[in-house]
Amino acid sequence: MSDIRLDAIWKKFGATEVIRGIDLTIDPGEFVVLVGPSGCGKSTLLNLISGLETLSSGNIFIGGRKVNDVPPRDRDIAMVFQSYALYPTKSVRDNITFGMSVRHIPRQVQDAAVAEFAGLLHIEDYLERKPAQLSGGQRQRVAMGRALVRKPDVFLFDEPLSNLDAKLRIEMRTEIKKLHQRLGKTVVYVTHDQIEAMTLATRIAVMDAGHIRQFADPFTVYDDPVDLFVAGFMGSPPMNMIEGKLRQDGGSFVECGAPGAELRFPLPEAMARRVAGHDGLAVILGLRPETIFAAGSELPGPDRYCFELPVAVVEPTGPDTMIVFEIGGRDLIARVRPQDARPQGTRFRFEVEMRKAKLFDAASGLRL
């Protein structure tokens, strides 16, 4: 097992800076997911770690060894690609053993390795077929087999599930997690799907515009986002962002909505203390959909706030129903139990758990 250390790395393509000074330390055996919108530089970062791109500046260490000028084949890594990148003219078996045969590993060792992982990945029935004869899911498994079979120290995944249909994606996600738990190798995994990031990662690096915004375990990233970007990117449906003003008149409130019809969300004590003395500050109140529910549907607790607004749209998803409503012209979503849902147009009494609310400085986007 190897750790990976990125030390002030930059990547420029001509004048475009794609990676803008990233420091990152990945512990041995970790499953790190790089997540972010398209164009944030996550795939480039992965290519830099794999040696498929050359650094503009900075250093990369794998297992304590500086690998800046080490070609991919000597970095002891394996990679799974989005398009799977199987060799179309080779059989599944030859696809899997190609890396070993390039390294002149004896035939018996190759066969043993194929046998081991073919069973693990359930591809033993079509080892002699060509990639074109396989389904998407099967190709995905072969691509994983090709990566696993050399038993490298580090696995790199570049959006490996994005070409699969929704059902297979969930299935393969679980399987990747199982494999990681079983093999314990260091994994760096790129995806734009924040649910994949949440489910797989031991730590998530949320990227934006060539920077890492936050690097932490999934719960911290979800519950304790450092800024508006991370808060807005993680979670589906996304966090509700309500623009407002901080009011400190007999308690701390966030005042939002149109003049005359303002809502005043009371801040819990701890949060109020943090923002003391900022009366009138423009803020953004972040409420995840699951923290807004039908009044009285949960056991009563401290720091609850109730308000009543008309239902704009009802979106059942099965286990929950999303209720869309408006504050100050912006659509917000509440996640309620299906039996609490009311038809469009009726007035609905919402209850908010203010302890789970996040408060951001509207100007800087930073968490308050």
């Binding site: 290519n47 040696g51 498929l52 791109e53 050359t54 800046n68 000028d69 080490v70 070609p71 991919p72």
Partner: protein
């Protein structure tokens, strides 16, 4: 042709790599010489006097540059019995190429459109039948065509040659446009239909403006093919109406008098200039024409 996205792969440095790169460039340069030397020889010979040609070598550069050979090739070299140089034949070629290229390209576009975007019953069979015409050895139609041109009173005339080139160019142009239109979404035609556009309305107002690249590729391809043609020219024209390729061949292969290599070379360059110019100016389209239909994806 797009560049690779793999240029950044970290490679081992060191002297061995440098040697490999060196060999690579040496081989590439060698082949550049292989392709360029005949052109250089052609140009340099055309600027030499006959004496210099007799005394010097192929690869020596002209000592005293003279335009005599060019003047003669253009204006006074003997093609058969007529000694007006290539000039009248260049005009013959121009008169023949322009209508033949325009007609075959336009009709090819129209047919390609009708065959792909209005897939009526049997369209595939018709296309396959037409396509076959692009591959036949033209020897098989030479005799009947010569007779047909005679019957139509077009034997040995430029209009006759235009007709021949248009007819046998159609298979190619239809193929080009079909391959292009197959990539155009049927949805566009459906949407236009729903908007009330007619068959020709869709063709002229929607499809043609979208197909500019395909049109350019086809124009260039047809121009090169027809300008460079020799078989039809030599089979269906006589003396006065010869295209420039036939005239060039006659200049080069006359057995009478002193062999004037400099005039031959100047004449060859004159015959080659139009297509070379197109190639230099629109090389990428030319390459696309060459590989159209041969490489998928």
């Amino acid at each position: 042709m797009n560049r690779r996205q793999i240029d950044g792969i970290v490679r081992r440095g060191g002297p061995w790599q440098a040697v490999q790169r060196g060999v690579l460039f040496a081989v590439l340069a060698l082949f550049c010489a292989y392709y360029l030397v005949p052109l250089v020889v052609m140009i340099s010979t055309s600027f030499k006097s006959l004496d210099e040609i007799r005394l010097g070598t192929l690869t020596s550069l002209p000592q005293a540059v003279t335009f005599e050979a060019w003047a003669k090739a253009w204006g006074s070299a003997c093609v058969g019995v007529r000694c007006d140089g290539l000039q009248p034949y260049v005009w013959n070629s121009v008169m023949m190429v322009v209508p033949a290229v325009a007609l075959s390209t336009f009709l090819g576009a129209l047919n390609g459109y009708a065959l792909t975007k209005w897939r009526f019953r049997g369209a595939d069979v018709i296309f396959a039948l037409i396509l076959f015409g692009a591959f036949i050895p033209f020897q098989v139609i030479l005799l009947p065509m010569a007779r047909t041109l005679g019957v139509l009173g077009l034997a040995g005339t430029i209009p006759g040659l235009i007709m021949v080139h248009t007819i046998y160019g159609l298979a190619f142009t239809t193929l080009f446009f079909r391959n292009f239109f197959i990539g155009v979404s049927d949805g566009i035609v459906r949407a236009a239909q729903v908007d009330g556009a007619s068959f020709f309305g869709i063709f002229f107002r929607i499809i043609l403006p979208m197909s500019l690249p395909a049109i350019v590729v086809t124009l260039i391809w047809q121009f090169t093919q027809i300008w460079n043609d020799f078989l039809f020219g030599v089979a269906f024209t006589v003396g006065e109406s010869n295209p420039v390729t036939v005239a060039l061949n006659n200049v080069v292969n006359t057995s009478t008098g002193v062999k004037e290599y400099n005039v031959d070379m100047a004449a060859a360059i004159i015959a080659a200039l139009p297509t070379l110019a197109v190639y230099v100016l629109a090389g990428s389209y030319f390459v696309r024409g060459l590989s159209a239909g041969a490489v998928k994806g």
